[in-house]
């Protein structure tokens, strides 16, 4: 009979209408600014620079190698290398970025900078509320704003951070062993010591 299905439909929608007032389970909408869904661990939104210790300038892992700048598909990274050197995470003397800017409005969160970085220096953040009313200055993040501590990285991505920490610790141990060996050879004779120092300096460049 014509109209039977229509009547059924009306009953269904009426049930939805009154049911949504009676049981909160029916309303699946998350009221965003007040309520939030928990983020999954692999959440990624925008890169940040990792530093070790408490001083972000001294502990910055980035050595200004500019690989990420070259690999970035939308070209949102801008780096200027420093003139002088400072010790990096492993302890070697390295350059550091004098300027490191990322444009928030251009970044497409592809994580390629993270994949290519050989120094575990750039990682993805979970912070996603990056909007601002200043569309030029406010969207161009500089080194100071991008730097976040390794402890923070451990908090947002515990698994990845553990892997990266282990890797760095291994490298550091290797470097220390090398330095120790160099020291031992220096103790044995003074002539090879000078040679070692020259080769050591050339390897850092």
């Amino acid at each position: 009979m014509l109209g039977e299905g229509i009547a059924k439909g009306f009953v269904e929608t009426a049930r939805n209408f009154f049911g949504s007032y009676l049981s909160k389970d029916r309303l699946t909408t998350v009221q965003y600014p007040e309520e939030r869904l928990p983020q999954i661990e692999a959440t990624r939104d925008f890169p940040f620079l990792v530093y070790d210790g408490d001083d972000w300038q001294a502990g910055l892992r980035c050595v200004g190698c500019q690989i990420c700048e070259k690999e970035c598909p939308p070209k949102c990274i801008y780096i200027e290398k420093s003139k002088d050197k400072k010790p990096d995470a492993v302890g070697k003397l390295q350059f550091f970025p004098a300027v490191f800017n990322i444009d928030v409005s251009v970044c497409m969160s592809c994580q390629i900078c993270v994949e290519v970085c050989p120094f575990e220096a750039i990682k993805m953040d979970t912070e996603f509320e990056l909007s601002t009313d200043d569309r030029f200055g406010g969207l161009l993040w500089d080194k100071a704003r991008l730097s976040k501590s390794n402890a923070y990285y451990g908090k947002i991505h515990p698994t990845d951070a553990a892997v990266s920490d282990a890797l760095l610790a291994e490298e550091k141990a290797k470097a220390e062993a090398k330095a120790k060996a160099a020291n031992e050879t220096m103790a044995n004779s003074t002539l090879p010591n000078a040679l070692q120092a020259v080769s050591g300096a050339s390897s850092t460049q």
């Binding site: 439909g9 209408f17 909408t29």
Partner: protein
């Protein structure tokens, strides 16, 4: 006391007009009524938009707007500011004069409809002898504006939407008018005020509304279906078809002109609901005899609100029809039903009061319904779709 409350606005208007010199009085009196209609129905439009969005939200298990003001009640103000501050874009190839006129004429026509609706006892702007005729004449101006909008935009989608709208509105105007002709037959008048008065009595506590007769009930249902199609509401919203032809005839409208179309559409919906109330639901009359102490205009607006809720419920329930389904429904079901309903109304008029009359007229409604719906559903086969190449 009840009498004063009922006639409060009429007395107020007389008192206000009384201060003016005699030659200005008719003009001033008309002006007051016009302003009242403009303010009240524009306000009703504002609350209906938020009610509709909240109602549809709840039907779909969502919250609906709840950000602007407490429970989102100030949403219409935010919408208004938004549409006022938006850029008004007119396509380069558009017929600029007609493009501008279409929304303006639509709102004008929609407001003109209220001139003949009796909102309360003694509360009608113009008591025309041919009130119902006037209503249908002006409502066809609204169809014209829709075609103006579609044609002047120079856009294929707009024109498609306008063509669909015209086809739909002309088809559904026939059953709409035929359904109201039964009431005109029964009341013996085309004046809306006289039609309301002819339904004014009570037997016991029950009112003499036309909807409580077999032909009146059928007529009311037919009228409401046709009214839904006339006001371009879902499930007959093919002309707009947001999901397929991107708002159809007003695709090329932006900013406040778009808001005017919205306003015109809702005003048309209220007006045609108002006519439905006037013709079938006793106008401003109370539904039970002991409730007459409540002012008549409150009853009118209560009924109007109930009709609006019904419209929202329908929109939240039914999916959009296809063009051929729309036309089949109009010409193969609505039209024969409306014609047979005219016969039923005549039979009802000439049979003596009693059970026999109810039985005969009930049969005259139910039997055609069963057969016509069977005819309409002929060839409908609901089966699992078989794909030739996709599987």
């Amino acid at each position: 006391m009840g009498e004063t409350a009922d006639q409060f606005f009429v007395i107020l208007q007389h008192w206000l007009v009384g201060h003016a010199p005699a030659s200005f009085r008719p003009l001033l009196s008309a002006l007051f009524s016009v302003v009242a209609i403009l303010v009240v129905f524009a306000f009703l439009f504002a609350i209906t938009t938020v009610l509709e969005r909240k109602g549809l939200g709840r039907i779909q298990n969502r919250y609906g707007p709840n950000r602007v003001g407490p429970f989102g009640v100030l949403q219409p103000i935010a919408d208004g500011i938004k549409s006022l501050t938006k850029e008004d874009i007119v396509p380069q190839a558009a017929d600029k004069a007609v493009h501008f006129l279409a929304p303006v004429v639509l709102v004008l026509a929609a407001f003109s409809l209220y001139a003949v609706l009796p909102i309360g006892r003694n509360m009608v702007l113009a008591n025309l002898d041919s009130g119902v005729l006037y209503f249908f004449a002006v409502s066809s101006v609204m169809e014209l504006t829709i075609f103006m909008a579609g044609w002047s935009s120079r856009n294929k989608y707009s024109l498609l939407g306008a063509m669909r709208a015209i086809a739909q509105m002309i088809s559904y105007e026939v059953p709409l008018i035929l359904a109201s002709v039964t009431v005109i037959m029964a009341a013996g008048s085309v004046s809306t005020v006289a039609i309301v008065e002819s339904q004014a009595g009570y037997s016991g506590i029950l009112p003499h509304w036309f909807v409580f007769t077999p032909w009146g009930f059928t007529g009311f249902i037919l009228f409401m279906i046709a009214a839904t199609a006339e006001s371009n509401r879902s499930p007959f919203d093919l002309p707009e078809g947001e999901s397929e032809i991107i708002a159809g005839y007003y695709t090329e409208y932006s900013g406040f002109k778009f808001a005017l179309f919205f306003l015109g559409e809702y005003l048309g919906m209220f007006a045609i609901s108002g006519l439905g109330i006037t013709l079938f639901l006793g106008g401003w009359a109370a539904p039970l005899s002991f409730l007459t102490w409540i002012p008549s205009y409150l009853w009118f607006f209560t009924k109007l609100l109930a009709m609006t809720v019904m419209f929202i419920w329908i929109r939240g329930t039914l999916p959009r029809l296809r063009m051929d389904q729309l036309m089949n429904f109009a010409w193969r079901f609505m039209l024969p039903m409306a014609l047979l309903n005219l016969v039923t109304a005549g039979v009802w008029r000439f049979l003596p009061h009693g059970v026999v009359r109810w039985f005969v007229c009930g049969l005259l409604v139910v039997v055609p319904y069963v057969f016509l719906s069977r005819g309409l559903m002929q060839g409908w086969k609901l089966e699992k779709r078989v794909y030739r190449f996709a599987e």
